[in-house]
Symmetry: C2
Subunit: 393 residues, 2 copies
């Protein structure tokens, strides 16, 4: 844990720098009426006033949470607050509007009433249609091996993160297993791990300075949230169990190098297609017993996952795969990933220009790499800083 | 815990008795082609063969779980198994089919993308439309006070049960708070409470024999699952915190005596309308701080609740309320509760007739009481034994 305070200070500084830049961007927006920035973010939360120029209070605390920060945006709240605690990926709404009825789902009142989706599957609450589309999408994008994997669906990848901790923890150990991740890590990992004070697992901080003997769980987030860098495990000891959180391993954020081939990998529609409100995530799990235990966790936690959202996710993912296939066939068409890549690219350009103009801060540069999906060398353009910025548009 | 083994034996006996009777019912069904029994239950899980006459293995273990029992029903499974571990309330599907398009929901691909539903609400992920329909339904049915209550939505009431334990537990106590319920209790309560080995709360068994000093949480399930009796808290000590699980406090199962007026009450659409696949539950919470902590739990657990299912639930609940209002206005119309009451009534008659014919077992009798919803004296007809039976039809 020795490094943590330093890393947090650095991260706080980065957030502060982004905060300051956001106010500059807001000026740019109001002056030039740019089309993209903040076109849709948080529009349901306020009446617009909170984002206008004026006396702004900037909330950059890492310990603030969804509820606090959302309430801070309410028009009746005290002061005007820009929330930099988290993003909301409504940026892709434009694409889905353009798709018209193609991804509209209609569910009659008598459908999907049962608890069960597929009793022959280890994950008995996984809709077969969703399972099919997940395998197809990973094959089309080339970002994950699905052969020999069990799919476990979750209420967002948060639930699957907790299910993974439960499944990987030794059930009868004398003390909880250590959970680590290299700093800077996703700010919710410590609280998600420890809020139940579980006797099975316990947050143990920065993986880089983890020196305890014995079994441990290492969370590898790649591209990393918050800093966007591609990552590998850092502890590398024999008793390590790895959870790969690949929420951002999609072509709009980072060059796809090869299909991810890990023991336990997490994905979510929130970041891939932008449908955060669906709360649908999935895990690709090699070990059958781990998949069973994760399923058991979700059974005890929520007795399955919304069928309505699973069916809707299946339809949306099918449209994403179709758009990729059509783009390859008819070069004029624009796939979902081309669209979202272009948006990310435009926003990074604007962010870099603004930061440069300020002369006070700098943004990291990411090494370009060959992307097997776009079949060209491209620069990474991480999602989170851009989402943060967008939440203030 | 002294009474527990006895109570479990009794309950095992009851399950066994139901199991034997089910095989008799199956004979009745195949001989007389009865219309109702098992018309829809588990139809997605097998090919029908498992339920035909022949050599049947009856699984009556209380410790079996959803996954095991569902796999046991798979046509490729070994032997023929009747699952008596749990029910699946697809029994109401007929009603929702009759409603035609009235409860069909259409969601365009670009809708409900944000994490947020209502940032002005403590429960920031609660869809305002659902909140409105929940209040209306409780007012129409008269089964719960909603004035002065915060609504917290959950991924089924299971998640809200866990959220309630989290919210009510002292965060810094020297030892976990005891969680008790009078036996026989819902068979999942112990495992749901203890599977994370939380340092905040711990299962402490039968409330009737609970004698430990200090704070405790008592779960009051009324009508009770599994035995159907109306219940009140039994410990009644000053440091007790109560969670009322009123999943079955609806007119088709039990006479509504008065609007429930408790500190923390749980409901679910699974049992009220039969839409188990939606995974939507809700809590009515008097204390604002408790509502905040429950919301925080769900934020850390799943970052909210499927918007799609919330919107669908709102539409279904609106139809339920509408059907009640129309029935009162035009006496010929049949409300959802009249329909479901009649199905329950018919199934209890069949169950009682079969058990009587066996001469070996008996079913409990429930005292009739005045129902403020139907404005007449009616006999309770608990849901769970009937759902159990139905899962074998």
């Amino acid at each position: 844990m020795a490094k943590l305070p330093n890393m947090l200070s650095l991260w706080n500084l980065l957030v502060l720098s982004l905060a300051l830049n956001v106010s500059l961007i807001l000026r740019m927006v109001s002056e030039s009426q740019e089309r993209y920035i903040g076109s849709s973010c948080f529009k349901k939360q306020g009446d617009g006033h909170v984002f206008h120029e004026g006396s702004l209070t900037i909330s950059s605390s890492l310990s603030s949470n969804f509820a606090n920060s959302s309430r801070a945006n309410h028009p009746q709240g005290n002061g005007r607050v820009i929330n930099l605690d988290h993003g909301d990926p409504t940026v892709y709404e434009t694409f889905w509007r353009q798709m018209g009825d193609k991804t509209t789902i209609t569910i009659p009142g008598w459908q999907s009433m049962s608890y069960f989706s597929d009793a022959s599957n280890i994950c008995w609450f996984l809709e077969p249609e969703l399972a099919k589309e997940l395998v197809r999408l990973h094959n089309v994008v080339g970002n994950a091996v699905t052969d020999g994997r069990h799919i476990v669906v979750g209420t967002g990848s948060s639930q699957l993160f907790l299910a993974a901790l439960y499944a990987l923890s030794p059930p009868d150990a004398a003390e909880p297993i250590s959970v680590v991740s290299a700093a800077p890590y996703y700010s919710s990992y410590p609280s998600m791990t420890d809020y139940q004070k579980s006797g099975l697992y316990k947050w143990a901080g920065d993986a880089d300075s983890f020196e305890k003997e014995g079994p441990y769980i290492e969370l590898v987030t790649s591209p990393n949230n918050p800093d966007g860098y591609v990552r590998r495990s850092v502890v590398n000891r024999s008793q390590g169990l790895l959870v790969h959180d690949l929420a951002y391993y999609w072509p709009q954020y980072t060059p796809i190098s090869s299909p991810a081939d890990h023991e336990l990998t997490l994905f979510t529609v929130s970041k891939s297609t932008g449908h955060a409100g669906m709360r649908i995530g999935w895990a690709l799990v090699k070990d059958q017993e781990v998949a069973k235990k994760m399923t058991k966790f979700i059974e005890l936690n929520t007795i399955g996952v919304s069928k309505d959202s699973q069916l809707r996710a299946a339809k949306v993912l099918r449209a994403v795969s179709d758009s990729c296939v059509q783009e390859r066939r008819f070069q004029g068409e624009e796939s979902f990933f081309k669209f979202s890549y272009n948006i990310m690219s435009q926003r990074w350009k604007q962010l870099r220009a603004t930061v440069e103009r300020s002369g006070m801060f700098s943004l990291p540069r990411f090494s370009p790499a060959f992307c097997t999906f776009f079949t060209q060398i491209l620069e990474p353009q991480p999602g989170d800083p851009v989402f943060l910025q967008l939440s203030c548009g």
